[in-house]
């Protein structure tokens, strides 16, 4: 097979670019998925005070600024060696739980969900939130917007702004909440629990009740047997805000757990010449290429992997759903990637239950929300679970707390290798003897990576069913055989 160098400097102009290389017999040899990456962030941070990171990093991504805010805030606490007071932990986690409710809701109903609810063979024009509304009723749209509004109200009350929180500072928070706010937050939280249960029921009726969908979900095309990672609390239950990262092998055995400060012992990054983005992998297992299995260091970080890496959910309703999930799918761990959409709904329920748990804690309205740091700053790591994967912020500072170096592993970066593998698998099933057998390939390729809820930052401008995508197929000599495009001029 001829070697082709793909120049990573080529601008992708906001659309995903996939190159497929074929063997002599016309089967797929390799696929390469290139995404435009936001560049220079680590350099941009240098010279700024560490406490600014919680506000600046929120601007990396317009969708999960809350995740970056929290990871940066925890890293700043670590840099200053300060333990935040319990009320501050409660408040941060409460904000974060409300954020999860909005984010998972939006993803399920507006983004990945439509593939599922409408079915992967539904026409492109219907595979979006409007199609979902049409299928399940107008009420849904109202509930989705209400869930978003409730979540963003909580974020504003605790975080200072509706979308980009700014109240976390080294040692805690700059403000607490009033009793009136607490009451309102509890009311919204209880509504959120009902909404999450409604969503799971909807999913059960529409998806699980339909054999064709179930076959697709359980099918091999979107299945990869890799390691799973996710943050767990001291009881090994899923936690989005704090804990240790649990690593579980493809058969379900736990390899270990690591604290934020230990991540470099566990995660290393592999470089490929055809893309800016690096491929994280498990150091203790080693990089063996884009392959499945216990001996391959490839891992994934998503709602599904979080459920796989934990022993259960910390709240009762979500725990019941967790058990039902694994019972239905034949045990732990589960590897069919489309079930990420289902796992996401279980997390939605947990987030809502946790929201109510936290807001009804007597210390939530305490005014002890900050401990002033006294130690000299140096280096620190903060890890949280972003909705789309484990998020790691690592900063080095000088003795004044000015950033000298930064390293971020964002949610989707964890999944770059598995996404690449899922795309290849989708391509495999649509290309025989060098010929694309179905136009459906573009839809199926999109679905493959949309299950991971990939965040390519503000750089990729795309939407479900209308993602600008170019797929170039080359034969064994590297000559272009076919170019498939959608929504690009």
């Amino acid at each position: 097979m001829q070697r082709i160098t793909i120049d990573p400097i080529t601008r992708l102009e906001g659309h995903g670019k996939i190159e497929i290389f074929l063997n002599d017999d016309g089967s797929v040899a390799n696929t390469y998925f290139q995404i435009p990456e936001l560049r220079g962030f680590e350099r941009f941070c240098v010279g700024r005070p560490i406490e600014e990171m919680a506000v600046i990093t929120g601007r990396i991504c317009g969708v999960c600024p809350e995740a970056h805010h929290m990871a940066a805030a925890k890293a700043a606490d670590a840099v200053y060696h300060v333990e935040i007071p319990r009320p501050a932990k409660l408040l941060r986690e409460l904000l974060y739980s409300a954020f999860y409710v909005t984010d998972h809701t939006t993803h399920f109903y507006a983004l990945g969900g439509p593939d599922f609810v409408m079915g992967p063979d539904a026409p492109v024009a219907e595979r979006n939130i409007l199609g979902v509304i049409h299928k399940v009723g107008l009420e849904i749209a109202g509930k989705v917007l209400q869930a978003r509004k409730a979540g963003h109200t909580v974020i504003e009350m605790i975080g200072g702004r509706k979308v980009h929180p700014c109240t976390s500072i080294p040692g805690g928070l700059s403000k607490g909440i009033t009793k009136e706010q607490r009451d309102e937050i509890e009311k919204m939280g209880r509504w959120a629990i009902e909404f999450a249960q409604f969503s799971l029921k909807l999913f059960g009726d529409i998806v699980l009740g339909n054999k064709a969908y179930v076959d697709l979900i359980l099918g091999d095309i979107y299945t990869h047997r890799t390691y799973s990672i996710g943050t767990v609390d001291e009881n090994n239950k899923v936690n989005f805000y704090d804990g240790k990262v649990s690593v579980v092998d493809p058969e379900g055995k736990r390899l270990g757990k690591y604290a934020a400060s230990e991540y470099t012992d566990w995660i290393a990054e592999h470089v490929e010449p055809w893309t800016y983005l690096k491929f994280p992998y498990l150091k203790k297992v080693g990089w063996k290429g884009f392959v499945d299995g216990k001996d391959s260091g490839v891992y994934f970080a998503t709602p599904l992997s979080r459920l796989n890496s934990a022993d259960g959910m910390a709240t009762p309703l979500a725990q019941a759903e967790y058990e039902k999930f694994y019972k239905t799918l034949g045990g732990k761990p589960v590897h069919q990637r489309l079930t990420i959409h289902w796992a996401r709904l279980i997390e939605l329920l947990y987030a809502a239950e946790r929201w109510v748990e936290l807001v009804t804690d007597p210390e939530i309205t305490s005014d002890n929300f900050r401990t002033i740091p006294t130690e000299k700053p140096m280096e620190g790591v903060g890890i949280v679970e972003a909705p789309r994967g484990t998020l790691t912020h690592h900063y080095w500072t000088d003795e004044r707390g000015i950033v000298t170096k930064a390293n971020l592993i964002v949610g989707t970066t964890n999944n770059y290798a598995p996404i690449t593998m899922s795309i290849k698998k989708a391509a495999d099933s649509f290309i025989k003897k060098g010929v694309v057998v179905s136009e459906g390939i573009l839809n199926r390729v999109e679905m493959a990576f949309r299950a991971y809820d990939p965040c390519f930052g503000c750089a990729t401008h795309s939407l479900p069913g209308q993602m600008p995508l170019q797929v170039t197929i080359r034969d064994a000599r590297g000559e272009v055989v076919q170019v498939l495009r959608q929504f690009c001029d």
């Binding site: 601008r11 102009e13 906001g14 659309h15 435009p36 990456e37 936001l38 560049r39 220079g40 962030f41 350099r43 941009f44 600046i56 601007r59 317009g62 969708v63 939006t106 993803h107 507006a110 983004l111 979006n128 939130i129 409007l130 509304i133 107008l138 749209a141 109202g142 917007l145 978003r148 509004k149 979308v163 980009h164 809820d453 990939p454 965040c455 390519f456 930052g457 503000c458 750089a459 990729t460 401008h461 795309s462 939407l463 479900p464 209308q466 600008p468 929504f487 690009c488 001029d489």
Partner: protein, 169 residues
């Protein structure tokens, strides 16, 4: 060319001027820069000038309650010179627009508006886009590149022109 419907003349007519984009991503912040300058020159109780970073649903939610919205954003079509300024209604936006009007985690703004209208949300009849062609939207920087920076005054005049025409029609 006036793209906003003439003001009906009632006191509760409200216009939203929204700078859209990410101020940390180089030219992606041009919408904010333009909105900042418009804000310095316009003081009218019926005109609100604000800044936003999201797309799709969150952008739609921000538009609720206004009669007319003017959204200023970077647009990366690759087919116009850097700094080119265009103005058109949302309905006329090319389908493959690379701007915050179609973002990775949302629906397009058009779909989101449909969702909102279907639910009876009070959304503007007139949504005008002021688009500045910009390619350097992937690198972290607080500066605009020269071609895009020099387009800012033109875009500001365009926005103000729309506002003035609207109120005197």
């Amino acid at each position: 060319m006036l793209l906003c419907s003439p003001a009906v003349g009632f006191g509760d007519v409200k216009v939203l001027v929204l700078g859209l984009g990410n101020p940390l991503l180089g030219d992606d912040g041009v919408g904010w820069r333009v909105a900042e300058q418009v804000k310095e020159r316009v003081a009218d109780p019926d005109i609100e000038i604000d800044f936003h970073s999201g797309g799709g649903l969150s952008l739609m939610e921000r538009l609720i309650g206004y009669n007319c919205a003017i959204i200023i954003d970077a647009l990366n079509t690759g087919r116009k010179p850097q700094g080119n300024v265009d103005c058109f209604r949302l309905e006329d936006l090319p389908n493959t627009a690379q701007s915050h009007l179609a973002s990775a985690h949302e629906t397009t703004l058009r779909t989101a508006i449909q969702v909102g209208r279907t639910m009876g949300a009070d959304l503007p009849n007139d949504i005008i886009i002021v688009a500045i062609e910009a390619q350097n939207v992937y690198d972290f920087s607080e500066q605009l590149s020269p071609a895009v920076a020099s387009a800012v005054p033109q875009a500001v005049e365009l926005v103000i022109g729309q506002l003035v025409n609207r109120s005197t029609s």
